[in-house]
Structures are given as structure tokens and as C-alpha cells.
């Protein structure tokens, strides 16, 4: 049954792990956001012989499990520290989702904008950087936010490559104090408290951008 003292002892441990969870989330999402944008632009602007294999690889990464990718990267890239490796794998995995999101955003930029750029003879890179991408990114902010929340909820996987994030701490505490109930319930509560307000915020942003 629930042991209040164990829960009180577990709380600081779980919160300490939450710091690592948060760092992994933020860094992983930065990698995903940048790489996803690159993938989307490559998909639209690069010659076919580059775009096709890159797109195929992205589809493959998207349809295979993150856990297996983590293990594969763990064994195949032995030089990297676990957190850096975890951030990299999370980032690449989510980049393949975000590239699709960016792509819809890019497709939603009115054709007239491209035509105006051509009429002004703007160079290709300035068309992308100054005209298309700012509009595309603004359109897709809400789905990007949703993926940030999803990424946050997948960070516990990093515990399997020895990153001491929240679930790792909860698990270790649970096994040493035989207090799994308290430690995992606290971890679940922290997840809920962190992700739910963020989801609400994203939904509000979505409603505002829709008008």
C-alpha cells in the first residue's frame, strides 16, 4: 500500500531525474526541429537523386521502433556519451516526423508568394529563407508543439541506455527501497503535470492561429 514516507524520500530523487528528462527533451527537440526542416527543404528543393534516397531513409526511420534504433546506435556508435547519443537518436527519429509537418506547412504557402519572388528575381535561397519558411513555420507551430510533448513522453526510453532520467531514477529508487508504487506514481504525476498544461497551451495556440 501507499507509503507516505517513501514517497517523500522518492520525490527529490524523481525531481532530480526530471532535470535530465527536461534537458533531453529540449536538446532532442532542437535537433529534431533543425534536422526536420533540412529534410523538408531537401525533399522539396534538392534534385531527385538526392531527395529520393533521403526520403526513403526518413520513411524507414519513421516506421521502425525507437527502442531498437537506440540499441543499434548504442552498440554501433560506442564513442558517444549516453545522453548525447539519446538526444541524437530522439532528434533524428522525430526529425522524420517533423519534416512531414514542415512539408504540409510549405505546401500551404500560397503559390502567389513563390511567383512574387520569381517576379522580384529573388535568389532561390532568399526565397526560401525570407519568404517561404517564415510563413511555413508559423503555420505549423501547433503540430510542432504536439510533437514536442510526444518527444517528452518518449524520453523514458533513454533509461535503457543508462541515461539517468526520471524513469531511471524512479526505477532505481523503487528497486532499492522496494517502493515501486510510490516512485512510479510520482513519475507519472510529474509527467501529467508537465505535459497537460503544455498540451492545453498548444491547443490554445492552435485555436488562435486558426482565426
Amino acid at each position: 500500500m501507499w507509503d507516505g514516507d517513501a514517497a517523500l524520500t522518492a520525490l527529490p530523487v524523481v525531481l532530480k531525474g526530471f532535470g535530465v528528462t527536461l534537458a533531453a527533451t529540449v536538446l532532442g527537440f532542437v535537433v529534431a526541429a533543425v534536422l526536420g526542416l533540412v529534410l523538408a527543404v531537401v525533399g522539396r528543393a534538392a534534385p531527385r537523386w538526392v531527395a529520393a534516397p533521403v526520403g526513403g531513409a526518413a520513411a524507414f526511420v519513421r516506421s521502425t521502433p525507437l527502442l531498437v534504433q537506440l540499441f543499434a546506435a548504442w552498440v554501433l556508435i560506442p564513442a558517444l556519451d549516453p545522453l548525447a547519443l539519446g538526444v541524437l537518436v530522439l532528434g533524428v527519429h522525430y526529425a522524420t516526423y517533423l519534416s512531414e509537418v514542415y512539408r504540409t506547412g510549405i505546401d500551404a504557402v500560397p503559390k502567389g508568394q513563390w511567383e512574387a519572388c520569381t517576379a522580384l528575381s529573388l535568389p532561390r535561397h532568399r526565397t526560401w529563407r525570407a519568404v517561404v519558411l517564415p510563413q511555413a513555420v508559423r503555420n505549423v507551430l501547433p503540430p510542432l508543439g504536439n510533437y514536442a510533448v510526444s518527444l517528452f513522453k518518449e524520453t523514458p526510453l533513454l533509461s535503457v541506455i543508462t541515461v539517468h532520467e526520471m524513469v531511471h531514477e524512479a526505477n532505481t529508487f523503487g528497486s532499492t527501497h522496494f517502493a515501486y508504487l510510490e516512485s512510479f506514481t510520482l513519475a507519472a504525476a510529474v509527467f501529467l503535470l508537465a505535459s497537460w498544461p503544455t498540451s492545453l497551451l498548444v491547443r490554445r495556440l492552435e485555436a488562435r492561429l486558426a482565426h
Binding site: S63, A72, L181
Partner: protein, 266 residues
């Protein structure tokens, strides 16, 4: 119990699905596969070992498919129950459904699975590992699916319901014969995404001692020392299963649209 190697922790539970024992209290987070993986001298060739390991890989694949199908079935039932409740005009029903959906969407599948596996036994309930996995997958993806059902039902034009009311159809009949058939055609594409996500979440079950495909191929990896080949094979099998699921769902979507007279869809 000491922290064993990830694979070794699982070995004691036997390789076949039928041999699932009650979860032994496994201490701490499982450790990942050994990093310095240089093949041992006596390691047999990957292909030779693959041949003899095929039956066990088949069993592992069966467990993975089983977890996917059962988890998806539970998720589907919950999606409809919660999704329809979330669109109810009764405040209490709607609120209850929203709380459940937000709870399971907000608290990470991994925490839910580990909670069922590690914390639930402390309350006196002990589930088989596979049951833990199916339950966690079903609850988590059911909560996401509920949003799909709610959104699809809301997207059916109100005039369709109104016409059914004008024809004197009762609410149950209205839902069954008019609203749901149209909503279902909209649900299939998002459900396809969720199904692939669910499949991709199943390797997680190997962390709670379920001998699934991931577990079996990891056994092969440690037997041969050929990490790259083993994990590439594993990724390829998951990619292939995901492709098969996508094709099936695409066919389902086409037939659902054809039944509505929206042929040539997707």
C-alpha cells in the same frame, strides 16, 4: 537480484511465449547490450546461426504480432467508448471521458507500462508481462484513438444528423446507420498512423520480460556478435510489418470510401 545484462535478465524467463512466468521482481533499469561488442573468436557466422534461429524468431514475431493485435483491439474498443462519451451532450459523461483521455495521454506509455509491471504487484495485483503490455498499449493508444473518434464524429456534417432526426430515427439507429459509417471513413487514416505507432511501441515489452521479436533477435545478436546485421534485420522486419499494416489499412480505407460512394479515394 543483481543488475544483469539486458538480455541475461530476460533469458531466465525462457524463450517461448508459452513459458511466460509471473514477473519476477527485476531490479533496476535493465542494462543495454554490451557496447564493446567485438565478436568472440568462437562466434558462429551470422547467416548460419540465423538459419537455426529462424523458428525462434518466428515465435518472437508471433508474440510481437499478438501484442500488436490485442493492444490494437483493446485500443479500438476504448477509442469508441471514450470518443463517443467525449462527444456526449451529458456534462458528466463528457467530463469523465476527458479526464480518462487526458490522464492516459499525459502520463507516458513507458511509465504506464512500468507502473503496471512494477507498482501494481505492490497493491496485490500481479499481471502476466504480456497482459501488462497489452493493457498499457490499449489504454495509451485508446486515449489517442478517442480523440480520433471524437474528431471524426464531429466532422460529419450536422445536416446528416438533422435529416435522420427528420426521418424519425432514434439516437442509436442514427449513430449506427448515418453518423458512424461516414465518420469511420475519416478515422481510418489517423488509425493507420496510430497502429504503426503501436507496432513500434511493442519492443518495449521486451523490457518487461516478454519474449518478443526484439528479444529473440537480441539473443541472436549476442550469440553471433554481429550487432550490425542483427539490428539491421530487426529494423527491416519492423519496417516490413509496418508496410504490411499500412497496405491493409489503405485497402480498408478504399473499401470504406467506396461503400459511401466516394470511390477512387486515397
Amino acid at each position: 537480484m543483481s543488475h544483469g545484462q539486458w538480455a541475461e535478465t530476460l533469458v531466465s524467463h525462457g524463450p517461448s511465449a508459452g513459458a511466460l512466468s509471473l514477473p519476477e521482481q527485476v531490479a533496476g533499469t535493465p542494462l543495454p547490450p554490451a557496447r564493446a561488442s567485438g565478436a568472440t573468436e568462437a562466434a558462429p557466422g551470422f547467416l548460419a546461426e540465423l538459419g537455426s534461429a529462424l523458428p525462434r524468431l518466428g515465435e518472437g514475431l508471433l508474440v510481437t504480432v499478438e501484442a500488436t493485435v490485442l493492444g490494437a483491439a483493446l485500443a479500438l474498443v476504448l477509442s469508441y467508448a471514450l470518443g463517443l462519451a467525449a462527444g456526449s451532450s451529458r456534462g458528466l459523461v463528457r467530463g469523465g471521458a476527458r479526464v480518462v483521455v487526458e490522464f492516459f495521454r499525459g502520463t507516458s506509455l513507458y511509465v504506464q507500462l512500468f507502473w503496471l509491471f512494477f507498482a501494481l504487484p505492490m497493491l496485490g495485483f500481479r499481471l502476466e508481462p504480456l497482459a501488462c503490455g497489452v493493457l498499457a498499449l490499449g489504454l495509451n493508444f485508446g486515449a489517442y484513438g478517442a480523440e480520433v473518434v471524437r474528431g471524426a464524429v464531429a466532422a460529419v456534417p450536422a445536416s446528416q444528423s438533422e435529416a435522420a432526426v427528420a426521418l424519425g430515427m432514434r439516437p442509436g439507429l442514427r449513430l449506427r446507420r448515418v453518423v458512424l459509417p461516414q465518420a469511420q471513413a475519416l478515422m481510418i487514416a489517423p488509425f493507420k498512423n496510430l497502429l504503426v505507432q503501436l507496432l513500434k511501441a511493442t519492443p518495449l515489452l521486451s523490457l518487461v520480460t516478454v519474449p518478443d521479436l526484439t528479444f529473440e533477435i537480441d539473443q541472436l545478436r549476442s550469440a553471433t556478435g554481429d550487432t550490425a546485421a542483427a539490428y539491421l534485420l530487426l529494423l527491416a522486419v519492423y519496417g516490413a510489418v509496418a508496410a504490411v499494416l499500412s497496405l491493409l489499412m489503405n485497402a480498408l480505407e478504399r473499401s470504406a470510401k467506396a461503400r459511401l460512394g466516394q470511390g477512387g479515394g486515397a
